[in-house]
Symmetry: C2
Subunit: 227 residues, 2 copies
């Protein structure tokens, strides 16, 4: 939000904005490398020395950007969570019906789960974080749960989703989604987008009011032509 | 399998079978306490001192039964995995059609996930195990994956399950099931059996050929009266 104009070209230092951007980029590069290493080797086995090695910097240089290994772990989680929360905000602002909202949520979250920062939401152990950070991650998890539940509730209200147990339905959907963070390997048969498209339909097919309206099937159900 | 008859009552030592049984019971008590503590606090935070404290024994006494903390972690996993494999063997010997087999698998696995040893299959980090034990757990995971996929394939062949992507279907189902190990808390609204019954239908409803046969719906679908 700081909009101060950068100093003119005579200074050997980069203008403030550029310096901030460069710092942010470096910080994110550390996180990208760290999250890969944590996912590969597990948080406890991975060392900051190896993170630094991969970045061609020294371990002390990491402390310009982060206070500790735990801080890095938490910030990896933050990267994933922020991505999900941005997606949620965008989807909610579209003001679609419950089913359409739920499908957009599934699609977006599935694609995120097939990314390193996304996987960090489910692959790391919350117990490795400080108490304050544990609280933050729990609150984030709850926001995601609530968002999925709200879409389902809305769908039941607006008729796009069949009456169902909202909590169990959300758990089943989020479980299938979170598991992507465990099994997805880049370069596999399916791209993140293909998985996301498939899951958006697959995980909501049973609760969608149409094309299969389960009750009351008083008369012949016309094929809709949709898959 | 050892059926030797115990020595008569004069010895101050328990008969061989009884001693073996007592040892097994103590060993399992250690695992039950350890798995609870690992789930509560995370494997790295939990200490063997606290395991011993909760059992009213000393930490060195634990080494009568286990070589190391890692050995205990692995044996917790073994307890869960053996339960699942016993269930698989029983279900497969029932020789039902693919859909019925899949539903039995879902039901059994869901109930197991809502137990401590079951949760240990998904809550701990494989990277914390020795390389040999990591291989064993990966092989176990693959056997479970294969069993679910085989049931789906069989169902497609025998017509009880609609043609679908077998791998993605198995991933979606197992994801929803594995997530139970994360969210289930004893004493909640639903018992493990209720969750298992619900999931057995919920996770297979969309791929079941009946009661909703999605294609070709040439004529009116009769309500079957089944839920």
């Amino acid at each position: 939000m700081d909009t101060r104009t950068p100093a003119s070209g005579n200074s050997p230092w980069l203008p403030f904005e550029s310096r901030r951007r460069a710092r942010d980029e470096k910080r994110e590069a550390v996180l990208r490398t760290a999250v890969q290493l944590f996912l590969e080797q597990g948080y406890h086995r991975a060392t900051l020395n190896e993170v630094a090695d991969r970045l061609n910097i020294t371990k002390p240089a990491l402390y310009n950007y982060f206070r500790s290994k735990e801080d890095i772990l938490f910030e990896c989680w933050v990267m994933g969570q922020e991505r999900v929360e941005d997606q949620i905000a965008e989807i909610e602002s579209a003001n679609e019906n419950g089913l359409a909202t739920l499908r957009m949520l599934v699609r977006a979250y599935a694609a995120t789960m097939a990314s390193d920062f996304g996987a960090s939401l489910v692959r790391f152990n919350v117990a490795d974080l400080s108490e304050a950070n544990q609280k933050t991650t729990l609150a984030g998890k709850r926001r995601i749960d609530r968002t999925f539940r709200n879409a389902i509730k809305q769908g039941i209200t607006d008729g796009s989703i069949k009456p169902c147990d909202v909590k169990l339905t959300a758990f089943a959907i989020l479980g299938a989604l979170n598991w992507i963070g465990h099994w997805y390997k880049p370069g596999g048969e399916l791209s993140p987008d293909q998985i996301a498209d498939d899951f958006a339909i697959r995980l909501t097919a049973d609760i969608a009011s149409r094309p299969q309206r389960r009750r009351p099937p008083k008369k012949a159900v016309k094929p809709t032509g949709k898959k």
